[in-house]
């Protein structure tokens, strides 16, 4: 950028130019307020989501347990709303945690591959390919999971059960339908790969070049360079990426709804059917036929899901935001 020194402005003698100190007038001001309004509107929408969900959930939150049992299908007698939502929250967390455990290592591998291993010319295209995974509609993941992945994974589940059956997660019996939480977890893992990869990739690419070159100059192999320079630098970024993935997995509906054969138990058996259910799938399954207090109950469970995902996402974003300010990259 070149700067030229402008000559001092010439003023007509005795007639100082009077201009408003600000240009924030007329259209300028209107346009600015419209833009600010759009920003505020977004905050208002997020607040409205919370308020309206709470407002519609309120009848269920205040109703007695016998009242709920009378009007909500599949509501067991003598349980409070909290006890009722409990297994759903458990199932949601279990499915999301499994998906996260499967997806995070692979996503880190992909992110490293794109940022440090793949030929630089290809890396952008490879990034698009991974992003395509995020573009595939979830209902198609559901179809794929039930018709392709399920049958393909069944031998693996049986093998896991026969060798590691002593471990609570892999305890038998293995459902021959493959409509089990393990299959769901694999599909969810595929679905959250792109978001984890995208964030981790950004962070890995920000690693100061000098750190990498210093490591290489000290005789480090490429992996040692990655381990000593890239990974420590990107640790908090990877954590927040994983949390964002967790948020996605918690709220995913269709894949779970179509694949999982639901149950309402606090069960760790991920290879057996009719054990767990997630909040989102539960809502999607029952909402179309629900009426009256059942709708309010479903919205109350939705509110629980909203609060959980909001907490996870805010945590993740807070880590990212803090990292931006204090990272060594700038």
């Amino acid at each position: 950028m070149t700067t030229t020194v402008s000559p001092p402005p010439e003023r007509a003698p005795g007639r100082p130019r009077r201009r408003g100190r600000t240009t924030d007038r007329g259209f300028n001001r209107a346009f600015r307020w419209i833009a600010v309004g759009a920003g505020v509107l977004i905050l208002a929408v997020l607040a409205a989501v919370a308020v309206f969900l709470l407002q519609q959930a309120w009848p269920a939150l205040t109703a007695g347990s016998d009242e709920l049992a009378a009007s909500v299908p599949r509501y067991p007698d003598d349980t409070s709303l909290l006890e009722y939502v409990g297994p759903l929250v458990f199932g949601t967390l279990l499915a999301a945690a499994l998906a996260l455990a499967l997806a995070t290592p692979v996503a880190m591998g992909i992110a490293l591959f794109i940022s440090h291993y793949a030929p630089p010319r290809l890396s952008q295209v490879l990034g698009y390919l991974v992003d395509l995974l995020a573009a595939v509609p979830s209902v198609i993941y559901g179809l794929w999971g039930i018709f392709v992945l399920g049958p393909a994974a069944l031998p693996v589940w049986e093998w896991l059960n026969s060798w590691f059956g002593w471990f609570p997660l892999f305890a038998g019996p293995v459902s021959p339908t493959s409509r089990v939480l393990a299959t769901v977890a694999v599909v969810l893992a595929v679905m959250i790969l792109p978001i984890i990869t995208a964030v981790a990739r950004e962070v890995f690419l920000q690693t100061p070049k000098l750190h990498e070159e210093a490591a290489l100059a000290l005789g480090a192999t490429r992996w040692e360079m990655v381990r000593t320079a890239v990974l420590p630098f990107g640790r908090s970024g990877v954590i927040s990426a994983a949390m964002l993935g967790l948020g996605r997995a918690l709220g995913e509906t269709m894949a779970v709804l179509m694949i999982l054969s639901p149950g309402f138990l606090y069960s760790f058996k991920i290879l057996d059917s009719s054990q767990q259910q997630t909040i989102a799938a539960y809502i999607a399954l029952d909402f179309p036929e629900a009426s009256g207090l059942a709708v309010n109950t479903l919205i109350a469970t939705g509110l629980v899901l909203f609060v959980i995902t909001l907490a996870v996402n805010m945590g993740a974003r807070a880590i990212v935001a803090r990292r931006k300010e204090f990272s060594g990259a700038n």
Binding site: Y117, G142, W223
Partner: protein, 322 residues
């Protein structure tokens, strides 16, 4: 940053070769580990591509047989059991109308919010908007659907199902995506262009409209197309807000509508049809599953086309800044 090139001080190529041999050949274990990790990292990528390839192949091979002119131009009205003469026209219409409506709601809000963040944003409000836009991208789609239902229940009473509710639900999901991508694109516009415009005495709003938006229009189009691609496949919010129907409905403000993803789900959940007289031209037992795959194919073609067009628009029409 640039690495200074240090000229080789003397012709001790032999010495450097020895040093190199000492450095690289000293530890076989380290090299093996490096190899192993390289293989693992390459295989991570292959592992991720396997589902994508398998999924696209499955949808293509299962859906292609069902695609025909009839399938694309007929609805499911008065189609029962294993009757294979129905189609997805009503679902295509519904998907296009609802997505278009969601786009009409989301793009102005998202674009203006992005303009606010890039051109005006300072202080607490801008930080809050940035933060909560990021948080909003993580709202589960079913929660967005429940929000739209709650909102409209308040005004129209319970049990109402219509297209515009689904469009509102989709915009809750779409707005943050639009803001994010538009913000990135507006940030790419060099400050020199803005300064040149101000120097000519052009007011700020006109600078934004005529210079900033004009420069980034290709990128903005890409961002919006990708956002549309993101929401066009949403199923859960439409399932709870728009409901299902077998007939064609062009009016998003009246009555239920069918959409492609919901259609695929409904057909899938119908399962096998019973054919009393055995399989024939008018009764195919697994027609529902075939319909689901057909709808999935149309949907994935739409999504991939939007993605592809989006990328190409950015590549071809974005101004060459340097």
């Amino acid at each position: 940053m640039s690495t200074a090139t240090i000229p080789d001080p003397s012709g001790t190529t032999e010495a450097t070769a020895r040093t190199r041999a000492a450095l690289t050949g000293a530890d076989g274990a380290r090299r093996r580990k490096d190899r192993t990790m390289t293989v693992l990292i390459w295989s991570a990528f292959v592992v991720a591509m396997a589902p994508l390839v398998s999924l696209i192949w499955t949808v293509l091979s299962n859906g292609a047989a069902r695609i025909s002119m009839d399938f694309l131009s007929l609805s499911m009205r008065n189609i029962f059991g294993g009757d294979p003469s129905g189609g997805i026209y009503h679902a295509i219409v519904g998907t296009l109308i609802i997505t278009a409506l969601a786009t009409v709601i989301s793009v102005p809000v998202g674009l203006l919010a992005a303009i606010y963040l890039v051109e005006y944003g300072k202080g607490v409000l801008a930080r809050a908007v940035t933060f909560f836009v990021d948080v909003m991208t993580g709202i589960p789609s079913i929660v967005a659907g429940l929000f739209a239902v709650s909102l409209f229940t308040l005004f129209l009473g319970p049990g109402v199902r219509m297209g515009v509710i689904g469009a509102v639900a989709l915009s809750v999901l779409m707005i943050p995506v639009v803001v994010r991508s538009c913000e990135e694109m507006l940030k790419l516009v060099p400050n020199e262009l803005r300064e040149a415009s101000y120097a000519l005495g052009v007011p700020k709003w006109l600078t934004i409209v005529k210079v900033v938006l004009r420069t980034s229009v290709a990128g903005l189009t890409t961002g919006i197309l990708l956002a549309v691609a993101r929401v066009i496949g949403e199923t859960a919010p439409l399932l709870v807000t728009v409901g299902v129907t077998d007939s064609i409905n062009f009016d998003p403000f009246e009555g239920r509508m069918m959409t492609l993803p919901v259609f695929a789900y409904r057909q899938y959940s119908q399962g096998q049809a019973t054919c009393p007289g055995g399989e024939s031209a008018t009764c195919v037992a697994d027609i529902a599953i075939q319909n689901a795959w057909g709808a999935a194919l149309v949907l994935i073609v739409l999504v991939l086309a939007l993605n592809l067009i989006g990328r190409l628009v950015n590549r071809w029409f974005s101004p060459k800044l340097r």
